[in-house]
Point group: C2
């Protein structure tokens, strides 16, 4: 019954390929041999214990090009042990969610020794990625054959291979059959139904499934705002009361939907197991470097980096840099408005045709400058966040997102704020808002999905023709698939997708009382956005590695902050509107005081609402409490081993306990290193 | 080596008395006998397994009165098992904090079978209280001898005995020797040093130690504000810039000190073990009632009450009632100001001596009405919170505190707000503030500690004389102590002490820019407050039962809310000051906009600060993460028993696991019910 990690296992010549490794064309044989050895050799020898073979056999290599593509797979037992190592949480037979362990595998739902469906393909690929990334240097001082590629104990090999250009890329393969099924239930047949989030999660992992879940939730949640906003546009309502009602509804509504999302998200991620999966036991991210030491939490050997140094870097370098960039961006905006005014005055004084063209120049220059600044800033932010040397991938992502977010927010909305509160031109504001919202939405969909899809399709046809032209009598399906996928674009994470939603939320809520139609446009856009994003994920881009996550992370905070800011802006806009000002013809003072009071009351209400709505539904809270209770009870019964060793067995009871403990330890070693015994 | 719970054990005639139980004078013998049986009988028979004897033996009873005082104690093993049951956390030999278990007792620091100092006296008394409170009805339909005192399965006996007046009170005894030592290191010798918080915690428990810790911390933290505020008073600075600087400093400072307190508090309660002690596994509070069922988290039998019913009661009854009371309180305040104005106009129109006395009448009436309203409201709040039927004592306390707090805040500060923002009379505001602050502080100290201490001392002398007059040839020390302590006042929890501090914080921060001297008065008051509160705890009141707590609970939120409100009030006050108004002679509008902008910036800064300062120091975070990691690892190795039972032992491995599991189970039963085996 016991599956063995025999040496035969890792040399299997045919296995299901899960991940592709592309080496550079000129990699030395010596290096290839070393890499192969490290990948297939056993855990106790510092290997990853994976399966590994070239895409083409010797005969095929002579016929076809692309000799540097390798396929990586894993035996079932390696995958299961890997699942235990990364702390994957699965459902047990008694419907509780527990961290998977190989020893207890039969207690888990749907587990069967003959069945390969227990782990989803995305999970298998994630495990392989994890194993590859955690291949770390031991005594090697450099990568064999590449003296310039230095290594030190604990350095991630894959990371060094990628930075020295020896490995070009590592990516997971699509599963065409499963992909087809997924597409059919997702977007190819047009119908108004919820997305198959569990399937998306099974294929692409939790992070991406959560993005689509949020996109869907957010769209549905915007519908009431869109419906209420429509008549304002249709009947050109300009009443003071109506605007106030609309804005108040929006502000309360946005708080409620964000709180309710947290609850829905917790339910979903509990079912997926990621809510229970512990963050702090995450392995360090591949880019993390430091002195090799013992992690005080887990007792495992890994690089350590003092957190005060990280704090110093964040507060003394990154923070001032970000502030400087923000200031610079505002400065550029002011120059733009100056240029605009100058062009206008020039046109008015000497109204020739030439000067009427000049009127568009400042806008064009400003748009270009903003785009350049955004890109430069993005690089700088990535460099800085990487230099801050965060231990966890999640911490790295959060810091990067925060940096980029603040800058993007300013770039996007600063000019609108200027128009609204300095120029106080509501017509211009409404116009700019509509233009920005609609053009950005249309451009995004085209640039992000449709254009790449069309290019991708053309490329596909070319490759197919080429492969057929070879007339090789080998089964070219896998070859064709790998060659096609390796040329696809890489999905750079959910960042840009969330950013798009975030800016959309800004357009909808920040100035909602000026342009009630924004919500309707957002809803329309998001209905097609789901489809174009799904198309992008399935057909345009390389399959991304799955990434477990328990919530949308820093984005929750970002959306909440936006909804707080929009309380302030909406109250100010209402206070500035001529209809309201007409109500207080004599005393502007009273007007402002009333507006400020209303704003404070709304903010207080928001905070009370956020406080009163629990973040997790009650049934999830109960299940989490039960898990915690059980683990504490288990700890009571079974303290850490060092305690046992310290204790002299001077009572009958203690002796029996010790005996039990030893048995438990033996048992554990048995199951984890079973093959060792059998070999001996 | 094994200590036994033999039947002899519970009938010991002499033991260290820890807790006193006072019955009513006319309790029937039948009831006494039944109660005694329930208290001393074994756990498996539904008893509390405690030691129990009358204060006086038969001979003494004939000589002395007070035949209804009983002493409760416990054998060492009952206390240790009780410590395990309540989940007490103690330090292990390897310096980690772990939940104590009887089986693993030798792994804990300072544990020795011959040593009685492992549990502090406060912990022992808490355990006894817990055991007494969790004596629950089984088949009994009523308390024997009292048909009107109905019982149902799961009802706490002590609760019913107390509500039917059969048991008058239960209180823990002082330990005169330890108390003397504590006093010497605490307050009797005047010197400027920190309080012995660890000793206070050992004697009075965590909740009270945390109060004194917070009082001390808060006083020290106010010193900078007092020092900076002094010159404003001495040199009569009325500059605009200086006020702004002082107010800004205060606002940022109050955020920082509240955040830093959280960190200090976490360090302290980690050392005391209460930070790790899990709240959600608390047993239900004695007043909690419901249908007996299985708790889904712990799997233990206890009363259950659906949470939606509680929510309905909170939102549909309690919340509207509180709002109504608040409205009523404001209404009374308006009547007071009307009366004041009427009295003033009367005095001005017919300025006789009679009318000048009349000027004081509204204030006196208002003060009396406020006091009456406070008391009535307090009763109503207690009734409502009790009716909401919270499962945990902590939830009950939090809801009660929140209710009372809001009302007290309004009663205390509404008139000041009215003076500041409606009458806009800064002189009157400063005057009222000073009068309120100083008189309330002086009155508090006298009424709370010094007067009761004096009364207490007089009573003490009387009792001593009486006991000596009896000339009983028995050792009267214990008798004297019990009789004295039973007449002492009861400590009603830290609520009033915190409330005093909270209102003080309000006086200091809400109007800090009008009356900078407030902080200095607060510091002076708190230096003596520490001593008078200590005196009150040690000499004036009955010793309270210790109560474990991990933080100051809802008070943290209350203080933080107060500091947010004070940002708003201070900005408004500065904006209204004549000096600032003089800076904007033409445009009030600009002034208000600037003030609002500054206020928003300060609020944003506060939230960013609160977000950026971690709630727990890094070393505590690490230790908690380690504990969590270990307990999850333990859970991985040892899943719940029902899984094991479900699983057929079809592999060699599983068989061995099952064997081990059975051994572990036997072992556990062995140690917990050792006496059962020996009796058989």
């Amino acid at each position: 019954m016991k599956v063995n990690l025999s040496s035969l296992d890792t040399c299997e010549s045919s296995f299901t390929p899960l991940v592709v490794l592309e080496l550079a064309q000129d990699v030395k044989e010596e290096t290839k041999e070393w890499l192969k050895n490290r990948i297939v050799s056993k855990k106790e020898d510092g290997g990853a214990q994976l399966l590994f073979r070239p895409l083409l056999n010797k005969y095929e290599k002579e016929t076809l090009e692309n000799q540097n593509l390798y396929l990586v797979g894993a035996s079932k037992i390696t995958l299961l042990l890997g699942a235990e190592a990364i702390g994957l949480v699965k459902e047990c037979n008694d419907n509780t969610m527990r961290a998977f362990t190989y020893g207890m595998r039969h207690n888990f739902k749907d587990f069967d020794d003959d069945n390969n469906d227990f782990l989803t393909m995305a999970e298998c690929q994630f495990i392989i990625k994890h194993e590859l990334e955690n291949l770390r240097a031991r005594e090697e001082k450099m990568i064999p054959g590449y003296p310039q590629a230095k290594l030190y104990p604990g350095k991630s090999l894959l990371r060094r291979l990628l930075t020295s250009g020896i490995v070009i890329q590592v990516f997971p393969l699509h599963d065409n059959e499963a992909l087809k099924k997924l597409e059919d239930s997702w977007y190819t047949r047009f119908s108004l139904k919820y997305q198959p989030l569990d399937r998306i999660r099974g294929y692409f992992g939790e992070t991406i499934a959560l993005y689509f879940g949020f996109l869907e939730y957010f769209t549905v949640a915007l519908i009431p705002m869109a419906v209420i906003g429509l008549p304002y546009y249709l009947f050109v309502w300009e009443d003071y009361d109506k605007y106030v009602i609309f804005a108040s509804f929006n502000l309360i509504w946005s708080t409620v939907i964000l709180e309710v999302w947290k609850r829905g998200c917790a339910s979903m991620t509990y079912r997926w197991g990621t809510l229970v999966m512990k963050r702090q036991f995450e392995e360090p991210r591949p880019g993390f470097h430091g002195v090799l030491g013992i992690n005080p939490v887990t007792g495992r050997e890994e690089p350590l980096y003092p957190s005060y140094k990280r704090q110093l870097r964040i507060y003394l370098v990154s923070l001032p840099f970000v502030c400087l960039c923000l200031y610079f961006s505002l400065y550029v905006m002011m120059i733009y408005f100056d240029m605009e005014a100058w062009a206008l005055s020039l046109h008015e004084s000497s109204g020739s045709e030439w000067t009427s063209i000049l009127l568009y120049v400042p806008s064009i220059i400003y748009a270009i400058v903003i785009e350049i600044m955004n890109r430069l800033y993005r690089y700088a932010a990535e460099f800085l966040t990487s230099w801050e040397n965060h231990r966890l991938e999640s911490a790295y992502q959060n810091h990067l997102i925060l940096k980029v977010l603040v800058f993007n927010f300013l770039n996007c909305f600063a000019s609108l704020f200027y128009i609204a509160f300095v120029l106080r031109d509501m017509k211009l504001l409404r116009q700019s808002l509509a233009t920005l919202l609609i053009t950005s939405q249309i451009l995004n969909q085209i640039m992000e999905s449709l254009l790449p899809y069309w290019l991708q399709k053309k490329h596909h046809v070319q490759v197919k023709r080429k492969v057929q032209a070879l007339k090789a009598d080998i089964d070219a399906t896998l070859y064709e698939q790998v060659v096609l996928e390796k040329e696809m674009g890489t999905y750079l994470g959910t960042f840009d997708d969330y950013l798009e939603l975030f800016l959309q939320f800004g357009y909808v809520s920040l100035f909602s009382c000026v342009y009630p139609l924004a919500a309707a446009f957002a809803v329309l856009n998001n209905f097609t956005e789901v489809n174009s994003d799904a198309l992008k994920m399935c057909r345009v881009l390389k399959r991304p590695f799955s990434e477990p996550s328990a919530n949308i992370g820093v984005w929750q905070l970002a959306f909440e902050t936006m909804s707080v800011i929009s309380v302030v802006t909406n109250c100010a806009l209402i206070g500035m509107s001529p209809q309201v000002n007409a109500l207080f013809p004599e005393s502007k003072l009273d007007l402002i005081l009333i507006v400020v009071a209303v704003e404070h009351a709304l903010l207080a209400l928001k905070f009370i609402l956020a406080f009163a709505i629990p973040d997790k539904p009650r049934h999830i809270q109960m299940k989490l409490a039960r898990l915690e209770f059980e683990s504490l009870e288990a700890l009571k019964r079974q303290p850490s081993e060092n305690i046992i060793e310290e204790k002299a067995p001077f009572t009958k009871e203690a002796k029996r306990e010790n005996q039990m403990k030893l048995m438990a330890q033996n048992l554990k070693e048995d199951s984890r290193e079973g093959n060792k015994e059998e070999e001996a």
